[in-house]
Structure formats: structure tokens, C-alpha cells
Point group: C2
Chain length 193, copies 2
């Protein structure tokens, strides 16, 4: 298959789709709405993406690539040590909490839209996630701690996304602090051994 070509028009449509889903909700995600937001006719939109499903898949793909790049960079900036992966994720999440919120909210809504339409669309996200877990398992520290923390980060993401958790900055900060405490505990223990 031909690699996804990155033309400005394509990217503009993708951005517009994200905006519509994020701002107006998953139910409002229609081809007309996206075309209007992108300043493009529906015909023009369908010229780039042969179907709504294809658009959704491209959206998840771009998102997953972005996410993967982000967390790989965040992890790389942490000196080698136990639970390095978890520490990297947590650092990135805390360092730019607001940015993290924005991006994660948008990503999550896209995921929901993709799942609702066709679960096959989340494949790129699955690959990115599997890659992350692989990195976590290769950590120096105890595997179980790395895994648990990675899942806790995901739990935080999803819970917040679904509105299960209060979205107040205080609440989020508290939860992040809890996770940080776990990481620190594991690091201390590893250092003492």
C-alpha cells in the first residue's frame, strides 16, 4: 500500500475532524461538519479520504504516531534506572499538565469515535500501546511495578476522559501525586538493594 502522503490539505481536514469531535461531540462528527470546518466541500473531503471510516483510521494513525513520539522522547530524557518508563510518562504528564489534558481529551474523544464506528480503526493505537508495554517490561526495575504504573496512567486517562473523575485541577494533581509516590517508592527500594 502507498504510504500516507502528508499534504497540507489532508492535514487540514484531519485537524478539522479533531476540532469537530472535540468541540461538538462524537455525535456531531459528520462529513458535512468536517468539510465545513475545514473550509472544503464534501466532495473535496471525500477526494482525500474515500470513506468516513478511512478518515477515522487516518485520524487514529496520526494520533498514535504523535503519542508514540511523545512518550519515547519523554522516556529518553530520563536517566536509566528502575521504572524508567513510568517515570518518563509521569514526568511528561506533570511537566505540562494543561497541555497533557488538552491532548489527552482530544485523543480520547477520537478513540471513542473510532471505537463507536468500527473497532478495527483503533489498530494503530493498539500497536503504540503494545510498544509502550514492551518498553516497560524492558525496564531495569521490577516489571510488575512498571506495568502497574503504566496501567494506572491509562486508568487516569480513561477515567478522566469519561468524566468518571472530577476534572478539577486539584483532583488531577492529587492523583498524579499518588502515582508519583508509587514511583518514588519503587525507586527508593531499588536503590537500597
Amino acid at each position: 500500500m502507498d504510504r500516507d502522503v502528508k499534504t497540507p490539505a489532508r492535514d487540514a481536514v484531519l485537524n478539522a475532524a479533531e476540532v469537530v469531535i472535540d468541540r461538538d461531540g462524537v455525535a456531531a462528527f459528520t462529513l458535512d461538519a468536517v468539510a465545513k470546518e475545514a473550509g472544503v466541500s464534501k466532495g473535496g473531503l471525500l477526494h482525500h479520504f474515500p470513506s468516513k471510516d478511512a478518515l477515522l483510521l487516518a485520524l487514529v494513525t496520526r494520533m498514535s504516531d504523535q503519542w508514540r513520539g511523545d512518550y519515547e522522547q519523554a522516556i529518553a530524557s530520563v536517566p536509566a534506572g528502575p521504572v524508567r518508563v513510568a517515570r518518563g510518562l509521569l514526568n511528561a504528564c506533570i511537566a505540562d499538565a494543561e497541555g497533557w489534558n488538552d491532548q489527552m481529551r482530544r485523543s480520547g474523544k477520537v478513540m471513542i469515535a473510532a471505537m463507536a464506528a468500527n473497532p478495527a480503526n483503533v489498530k494503530p493505537a493498539r500497536e503504540a500501546h503494545e510498544n509502550l508495554l514492551r518498553l516497560a517490561i524492558q525496564d531495569q526495575g521490577p516489571t510488575w511495578a512498571s506495568e502497574a504504573i503504566v496501567f494506572a496512567m491509562h486508568g487516569l486517562w480513561f477515567s478522566w476522559l469519561f468524566g468518571l473523575t472530577d476534572a478539577s485541577p486539584d483532583q488531577l494533581a492529587q492523583i498524579r501525586a499518588s502515582l508519583q509516590k508509587v514511583v518514588e517508592r519503587v525507586e527508593q527500594e531499588a536503590a537500597m538493594r
Copy 2:
């Protein structure tokens, strides 16, 4: 508002809705499909639930009540101690792993359907979740540990639901083992103090 009356017909429709969403996907969740599955006409269905949104809300409500009852019972069966909530959740999840999978998959798909249609529909789930977090904070053990584990359980649920994680029993068992290790570690530490 009048309390939700539990009639057999209502419950049958609710069951049918769950089946359709679980078996055929969120996109196939239409009033016609649910009515057909329930062996009821669409008019009959709409007699019980005035709108699709109402049906979805009722679905989430029943699910949340069920879930709340389950975890409260699971927690109650754990002797008082540190991270009792986390221990209870984990026990329930491990004791009947297969049942847990089934129920959680269905619940998750319902949540996605509800979110896609109208995020306001997840309110009952939010309340159940807040209640769980409240219980976790009242635990004897360190709050941060309880919180982290609760979120990890949620992360496992969501990740698995979105197909982010391999659904193989081995993989799931491994992750559960990781979480269990965290719980045990906290319990040990609390005991030594």
C-alpha cells in the same frame, strides 16, 4: 422524578440492548435492532423508553448499580486492613476472571455507546466511580497506594476494552499478577510498621 420501575419487560429490553451492542457493535445499536432482539415492536419499546437517550441512560444506570453492588460486596468480604478496597477489587477480578471479562466487556461497550451518543448519559457511572474512590480514600493503608491501584484496575479495564492490550488469558493473568504484587507489597509494608 419517579423511581425506575423494574418490570420484566423493561429488563428484557435492557438485556436485548446490551446484547446488540456487545454482539453487533455500537454502530448497530438502533431502536429497530433492539426491538427485534427483544422480540418487541418498536412501538412497544418506545412505550417503555421515550427516547433512545432514555434507553441508554437506563442501561448505564442499571449497569452502574450492578457494578456498585458487586464491588461493595467484594470489598465487604475482605477483612479490614490496608488497601482493603484495592484488595477487594482484585480478588473479585481474579476469582471469576472469565465472568469479569464478560461483564466488563459489555459494560465498556455500553459506556462507549453512551459517550458517543451523549456524554451526559454516563452520570450514574460517574457517581458509582466517585463512591469507589471515596471508599478507597477511607482505607486504612496509604491513600496514594489505594488510589493508584484503583486507577490501575481501571486502566486494565479500559485498555482491554479498547483492544489496546492483548486479550489473551495469559496476558491478562500476568497483568493481574503485577497488580497483586503491588497490593501485597503495600500490605507487607503496613504490617511491618
